[in-house]
Symmetry: C2
Subunit: 481 residues, 2 copies
């Protein structure tokens, strides 16, 4: 009934186990059928009794066999008669029967990255100059923490993150970003995206209306879509989000997502009067403001702009920061500053989402900041990026002159150029991508049809001396249309 | 109008900036009011012109000042008349106005850890023996990867995780867990909790009914609650989840969460017939099965139980695994095996949730597995934990004899003892916690009132020689009631 191959790649145990299991599943052995004793089978097969005993034990443990006093071992009586439909040959096309999914998840774009985000090079957005990162210092801190690893450091940490890192970031935010906060309000997250996700999950419900900047960051909008919120695009003008327009259009929105220090993608700084209007609206309507402060450390003409959170007397602002731009993205560390009365809720949500952040690099980062490497790195990079920004603005003015308008160049690692109405920025970007030249078009970042054509040009990863050539390439693409 | 203190701790720039900003915010400077020129102010204050220029530039950038040709610099005309309500003195009690939150998030327990989960020691559940972890090997791999770090490794990785680690885990799962899967189906996550969270967000909607094991893991249930799903508790008996009961009670449930290899907390292995019933129900009703395989690597009497996923011919099973138990929890690495037709959806969901996992330790872990350290570690720990399990079972039988029933001791790092009806396990656990003795009571893991009293006793972190004393302490607590 069962045959084994002593020279086959499978162990005898596995062959016996598989033979019985297959026989049961394909129906050649029926429920209740008697199985020879291990002694008998071993002697019939001419093998030692050990593999037979082990295979029987496994089949008993998994419920394929049952053993009754006086009746020996039988095929389990409780198995369904016909197992074929669920197990037989595996169907690789899994389209049988309904495959229901969440509606909210199914509205997310699945197409993968658009062509212009597939490569890295001149004008890549959100790319830091990796060669400038003080890898040697970082590595020595990593090595130091590796030596210090002990039983305690292998344990679960808390959902909020390490106390040392939170204290360190609190001190940094108070002085560098004019934030009002205590370390208890800080939660360490894996970056802006998770910070936004947890804020949305704690604060919003399906159907809630939310103000988003028009144009604005596409991945941020996806977070609201995944919650089933209604996106209300509010135009951004020279002073930032047009609050009066928002109040007119949808006063009852439950939250607003803003990038007041350096609007993405237009680069505008939200004016003081708009900030006060926004805070007043939030307080009047009981709404929340989510302040995404993704790259405010790099500002070239003035000091970094004071945060919106620091102006808020009513704890209506959830403040989000990240180390992806000032250190490096694969670190996956950021933070969210939570109004005091919401801390418990964020904590419960975070525990439910992923228990909390990994510990090791939190400790490394805390030392990196405390020992002054972080401040030094920012100072160095501000000078470096400032030079690249100036080179890019210069080149654009020389090569393209009045054909384009340059926006938002005073901060961050990108600027935006807008082009005359009717310019097909998306087509140009697709053509550029086919040449391994990465231009992020502006118009897809608008939700409404009233979009402006243009491009978001990153300058973080391109040396100043290479910028003029990249701008000429850009011009030739514009000319070719 | 403005005074500066040359010996104060604040820079002159900061003093000037703060003085104007405060004056504007508290209303002592009004919209449109003229500001002295930088030259005049500098000479009045008797300071250099640089800090004055910088402060003015900042106030202009932030929109507190505006400057008009011919009219000099004035306080911005667009500021609201009365800024006081939003900014003035900061109210630390943030209870003014409505503070709406998501209903689903507000049902999560915020109380923090119950007393019995606050400390570590004998009987701690989910605790590995950290002293046995091959820290030296791990550290040398960390050091090696630190040396190899380059620009590419600092970049964003993909939402699914590193290709190398996914290939490695696929090979492991095929041989060790009888899984059918390709590397493309594997997503690296931060642990079981995130794996469950993404599965729920992609597959389920508010209001969907879900089968959960009764008793079952509390943090898993929270994930469904946060989505607004209806929890349907299905009793676990000696063969695992009672599928017939589930079909009778709520056939139309959209998903079932099960721990078939080693049910948490009762330790039962789901029988073959129940597995086939469950797969059949899922296929008949178009439902999903989430298989949480949290600790199946450690099994003492037989080989690890074959996964439910490997039996499923219809791609209805989402399989979840974690390295928290076989390596260490603070690593925060786990994985989810996704049916092929859902990969795109999980990917889009993951990108929206947190962009993807951090890269560094994925690379370290891939090497740790590929170089055989992982298999060696599991083999060593299986022997070690097996000894502890035997010591615990022995001690219980000696000290408590027929007073308790021992369940689920054949696998994992915990077993469960049940106690006579009416035993107040929660009270005993609270008394124990007050003595820094951590006993996890069984009854709170039931949703219905028909709970069994008992305790979940972890043996992962306690040396065999310390177990008898801990059991005597446990007995004295039971006696004292």
């Amino acid at each position: 009934m069962i045959a084994v191959d002593r020279k086959g790649p499978k162990t005898l145990y596995r062959q016996i186990y598989d033979a019985y299991r297959t026989g049961i599943v394909d129906g050649s052995l029926r429920a209740g059928q008697r199985i020879p004793s291990t002694r008998v089978l071993a002697s019939e097969l001419g093998v030692s009794r050990f593999p037979v005993l082990n295979a029987y034990a496994q089949l008993l443990a998994e419920g394929y066999f049952e053993s009754r006093i006086g009746a020996g071992t039988v095929v389990s009586n409780s198995l369904p008669d016909n197992l074929a439909p669920s197990v037989q040959t595996r169907k690789r096309v899994a389209t049988i029967g309904p495959r229901p999914m969440a509606r909210t998840a199914s509205v997310l774009p699945i197409s993968g990255r658009p062509p212009w985000l597939r490569g890295r090079g001149a004008f890549g957005v959100g790319q830091v100059d990796f060669d400038q990162f003080p890898l040697r210092i970082w590595s020595s801190l990593v090595a130091r923490h590796c030596r210090k690893m002990d039983a305690e450091s292998l344990q679960y940490g808390g959902p909020m993150g390490s106390k040392a890192l939170r204290e360190t970031i609190r001190n940094y935010l108070r002085t560098a970003r004019s934030l009002h906060c205590e370390a208890e309000q800080l939660m360490i997250v894996s970056g802006s995206q998770q910070a936004l996700d947890i804020s949305v999950r704690v604060l919003l419900e399906p159907g809630d209306a939310v103000w988003v900047e028009e144009p604005g960051y596409h991945l941020a909008k996806d977070v609201f879509s995944m919650m089933g919120c209604e996106l209300v695009p509010i135009p951004v003008d020279g002073e930032g989000l047009n609050v009066a327009f928002g109040i007119e259009r949808c006063r009852k929105a439950r939250a607003a997502l803003v990038t007041p220090s350096h609007q993405f993608p237009l680069g505008v700084t939200m004016s003081a009067s708009r900030r006060f209007q926004l805070l007043e609206w939030a307080q009047d309507t009981g709404s929340w403001i989510i302040e995404d402060d993704y790259d405010s450390e790099y500002r070239y003409t003035t000091s970094p702009i004071a945060s919106l959170q620091g102006l808020d007397g009513n704890d209506r602002v959830i403040y989000i920061g990240t180390f992806s731009k000032v250190l490096f993205p694969s670190l996956r560390l950021g933070y969210v500053v939570i109004p005091p009365d919401l801390i418990d809720r964020f904590l419960a949500g975070r525990r439910t989402m992923d228990l909390g952040p990994p510990r090791f690099f939190q400790d490394v980062l805390a030392d990196f900041i405390d020992e002054g490497h972080f401040a030094r790195h920012i100072r160095r990079m501000r000078v470096l990026y400032g030079g690249r920004q100036a080179a890019l603005v210069n080149s654009i003015s020389q090569e393209l002159g009045p054909r384009v308008e340059v926006l938002g160049a005073q901060a961050g690692m990108h600027l935006t150029v807008t082009l005359p109405k009717g310019t097909r920025d998306k087509e140009i970007a697709e053509r550029a991508a086919a040449m391994n030249f990465w231009l992020w078009p502006l118009s897809p970042l608008y939700m409404s049809a009233r979009s402006r054509p243009g491009f978001i040009l990153g300058f973080g990863s391109t040396a100043a001396r290479h910028i003029p050539r990249a701008v000429r390439k850009f011009r030739s693409l514009l000319d070719a249309r």
